[in-house]
Symmetry: C2
Subunit: 85 residues, 2 copies
């Protein structure tokens, strides 16, 4: 069993008005030391596969086909082996 | 300058229909080895403060006041020092 921790974020070239709105809200709450905000999606996916290579191959395919919009978003992930229960 | 990487996820006791829908979509795409999915929000916040303690204090306050709904969500974060530019 493997756990993949996946982060999907906008590409740097894509304008992110939601992150700007969050930064403005922080400044309204007087957190003026905040200089930049980026936001994205986070997924934890548990896979019942025998090897880390198979887990990584599946996660790549899942991100490409489902979780990330390849036009606007990039993804990165880490795969950890889970202790047998 | 410090970078905080913040994850906001539902508490384990909260039902997450969106994560269930994502898992069902993975199964429809024949990723049948996926046994569990959790989803949440991810933020990268850059803070211009002199010490890591101040960065952590601000991030705690920002999460409590803005990013996480304390009734349903929990948050965790890591703070890293950024190299001077």
């Amino acid at each position: 069993m493997f756990l993949a921790q996946v982060h999907v974020t906008y590409k740097p070239s894509i304008l992110d008005p939601q992150a700007e709105a969050i930064k403005n809200a922080m400044h309204r709450l007087e957190f003026n030391q905040v200089t930049a905000v980026q936001q994205g999606k986070y997924f934890e996916i548990t896979l019942d596969v025998p090897t880390v290579q198979q887990a990584e191959k599946q996660i790549d395919a899942i991100c490409d086909q489902l979780l990330a919009n390849p036009n606007m978003e990039t993804y990165r992930y880490q795969v950890k082996e889970l202790a047998n229960q």
